[in-house]
């Protein structure tokens, strides 16, 4: 194995330990009466809820359709899985250390089998919970079963159930992809040495980068605004000016895009506390470039026509803003000042309707 390949395997194996602290899978439930949603998170050793009492609530609802109560302690896999994963991590590190193809292939195949078995097991539990219903259930709909989808969305009576890997699950997916990349690369190297090595290493590196990205909470970073396509979350107007605007990334990983600092601030003021886990604004001097709102400097009442006519512009730092003030005028403020200021809401009141 090449040095790069060994590093990648080592990093991938180590990254998998994230599964001990991050949830692997999430099942979200949305119903008319639950606008805020309910959900379950499957961890490597237990099952919890999105919120403190969600699992209780879900069990409470399931009794109507006669589904068995979900009791994490009664699921033996939740006891074995931490051990199995631990063995995989340790052996993975050993494989990287040894650096020989044979042990690597064995390990990679074992990893793949464990992942497939894990998914199959999840599907099996889903099937059993969804089909093994009390014949005396209160609500019985002919032909209806309540197996959540393995991946994707499905309507179960008044609930829409959506099942996806959670952050820990994505780390595992990325690690598996990295290992698969190394495997392909190593196999190719054996049959056609040297020539493609660079490209293959690049592939494996990309996979590693993906692991790092997922670990580093990739969804926290803003995404580029598509001009003339994206609409402002607040005023619903199409975004046409790349010099203004911003994005908020919610704790659910949603990206909210805004056409102006005014709209972003108005949204942030009214959103429930803790909704946004990161807020970015566009640097006036570098159109399309995001800077964190917290550290940005702002000019308010500047001689500049911002989209919502609030005259607010953002700069990479307070210093940068201060430098521009000589030319643009206005007053220098910080993000917290904008959050505290409600006068800008006037601009949005009319357009929100």
């Amino acid at each position: 194995m090449t040095r790069t390949a060994r590093w990648i395997v080592g990093v991938a194996a180590l990254a998998m330990s994230a599964a001990y602290v991050l949830p692997l899978w999430s099942i979200g439930l949305i119903a008319p009466q639950y606008p805020e949603g309910l959900g379950m998170l499957i961890w490597i050793n237990t099952i919890g809820g999105f919120k403190e009492n969600d699992l209780n609530s879900i069990n409470g609802l399931n009794h109507y359709i006669g589904m068995k109560e979900i009791v994490p302690d009664s699921i033996p896999e939740l006891k074995w899985m931490p051990v199995i994963l631990g063995v995989l991590i340790v052996t993975g590190l050993a494989v990287a250390w040894i650096g020989r193809r044979g042990p690597f292939y064995t390990w990679a195949v074992a990893l793949g089998l464990v992942f497939v078995a894990g998914l199959a097991d999840y599907a099996k539990w889903g099937y059993e919970y969804g089909h093994d219903l009390d014949p005396k259930a209160i609500i019985r709909v002919d032909g209806m079963s309540y197996q959540p989808p393995i991946i994707g969305s499905k309507q179960l009576l008044n609930f829409r159930a959506t099942s996806w890997p959670a952050s820990g699950g994505w780390v595992l997916v990325a690690s598996a992809l990295a290992v698969a990349g190394v495997m392909v690369s190593t196999l190719r190297r054996r049959s056609a040495p040297a020539t493609l090595a660079g490209r293959e290493s690049a592939t494996a590196l990309a996979a590693t980068a993906l692991i790092v990205g997922v670990l580093g909470c990739a969804p926290d970073s803003p995404r580029a605004i598509a001009l003339n396509e994206d609409a402002c979350t607040q005023c619903r107007m199409t975004i046409v000016d790349a010099r203004f605007g911003g994005q908020a990334i919610t704790k659910n990983g949603c990206t909210m895009t805004f056409d102006s600092i005014e709209c972003l601030a108005a949204w942030a003021r009214t959103a429930p506390a803790g909704t946004a886990k990161a807020i970015y604004v566009i640097d006036l001097q570098r159109p399309g470039t995001f800077v964190p709102a917290e550290s940005a400097g702002f000019l308010r009442g500047a001689l500049i026509k911002s989209p919502m006519a609030g005259g607010i512009a953002a700069f990479a730092s307070q210093e940068a803003a201060e430098q521009q003030r000589a030319m643009l005028g206005g007053s220098l403020v910080g993000w917290s000042d904008l959050l505290a200021d409600t006068t800008a809401d006037v601009h949005n009141a009319g357009t929100r309707q």
Binding site: W170, V173, L177
Partner: protein, 665 residues
Amino acid sequence: MVAQLQSRGLRYGALALVILGFAYACSNRQSGGALVGGDVAQRVYVAPGTHDEFYAFLSGGFNGQIGVYGLPSGRRLRTIPVFSQYPENGWGYNEESKAMLNTSYGFVPWDDTHHPALSQTNGEDDGRWLFINANNTPRIARIDLARMETDEIIEIPNAGGNHGSPFVTQNSEYVISSTRFSVPVPNTDVPIADFKSRFKGQFSFIKANEPGKMAIAFQMLVPGFNYDLARAGKGPSHGWMFLSTYNSEQANSLLEVNASQNDKDFIAAVNWKAAEACVKAGKGKDAPTDYLHNVVDEKSGVARSERIRSVLQLLPANCPGSVYFLPTPKSPHGADVDPTGEYIVAGGKLAAVIPVHSFSKMQKAIEGKEFEGELEGIPVLKYNSTIAGEVQKPGLGPLHTEFDGKGYAYTSMFISSEIVKWKLGTWEVVDRAPTFYSIGHLMIPGGGTSKPDAKYVIALNKITKDRYLPTGMELTQSAQLYDITGDKMKLLLDFPTEGEPHYGQAIAASKIKDRQMKFFKLAENTHPRVARTERETGVNREGKNVHVRMTAIRSHFSPDNIEGVQLGDTVLFHVTNLEQDWDIPHGFTIMGAQAGELLIMPGTTRTLKWVPSKVGVYPMYCTDFCSALHQEMSGYVRVSPAGSAVALTGTLSKGTSAAAGEKEK
């Protein structure tokens, strides 16, 4: 080359997965906030100083009262106290109204109101009275809509949980009550496990078309199921009553499971004209029982309770043709009759369809004896012989149906939290509107009668979650107003309500507002302790009771200084409001009074009972801001030790009644 393709594939694959993940996370939102737009604000805007188009009377659920609202604004106008004490105006606290809350179980200060029902003439709401049930301690009240005061309350014997009540026949011949919980009849000490053999259900037919004379005409004893809701027939089906049942399993424990096992329960169709004939022919029998009938005397304002010791009972088995069971899926909740009187719509809350029975098919089936069995002498008709159609895939948890009189029905869906509009006859769903959240009843003005006034439908919701500013652990309850004049229902307004708006009635304001009583004619006040002028006021002692005949007029009480009350006395303030003008009530209370205030309408007399607990001087004052000198409208009562030599006097300085106390002595 292969590797290149594979690696590129891998990269794109991973990227695709990641993007899918975020796409999911962001699609997982829903909002009702954005559903309202356009000219909605104008549609519900009632300019300052102008009146709403409809009165709405929404029950307060567990507050035991009725809330009066205007539509379309949703503005709350007033609370009419019915079954719960109401310190704001002294209902159930003052001596006149206490008797209204008497029951065979004693004085009951609270109840749970569910279903207001307007009185009808020729199948149309006439706006004379409003009836409403007390769920917990079974009673029905009649409210006079000219005064918006509760006038009469009758207790229902042999009932447990008066939920299926009151439902009015098309000329208010009867209001009907069915029992939610079957109980032993007569109620006595039996093991609960003997439910199936000893417990009975009953339908009570209460004569309701004469004020002050509500009376249980007869009670029909029926199988020990749970009875839920009902509607009277109309037009061709006039003379019939349709009542839903659940728990035909006759479970007495863990009903949520054990009463949900049968695929079909029943709608009971009662031919009450046939039952009347049987009663007339002497087929019923008087059974001993015990219940109260409380009536407010119109002239004196004083309520009296009458105890009644027997009730006429009729067994369906002794009156063939009076009751039939229509099998109906599954634990039906509502049993609603359309304006033509032909269709009976069942809201099978656990059913996957909305079944609709046909009255004409039912009659043919009865003629042709298309029975599948018999239960305690009651023939069970075949489902296929009575069913007119089923609304397929209506939503989840259908509960109640009302009608617009244009061929459409509107059904509330509890679980899927929506109103579903569908067409009678074709049974096709034509529109849906989400409700926020978990709608129970819905209400169209006149939507249960022969003549709906179908401009709006109101959703009466069970929970509000995120719809309003939060108020601690308990959030407001709410109703929602939808325009139904077009093809599509249109949400116009959310408005918060007092208590749980369980069900409601609404009626064109024009049918009520011009008949409102403005004040009571003082000359007609026959209260035994009335003082029609200040000359008639005074204080007198009857043993330990001190009676104060008092008047209130802007801005003084007469007398306003009372001396000679002794510790150990009970003081009764009989306060007459001498005003003869609209909107000039006076209030009255005294320091330490262990009761609600008196709120005295112009021309009426109300009595506050006060037992002073300490020696001293006690201020009393007017509590309803009546005039510029309201703050001056006050007085004192001096309380002396027992056996004191202070003479009993009631004085008003420079007033005509200064010597009145002496005079009465």
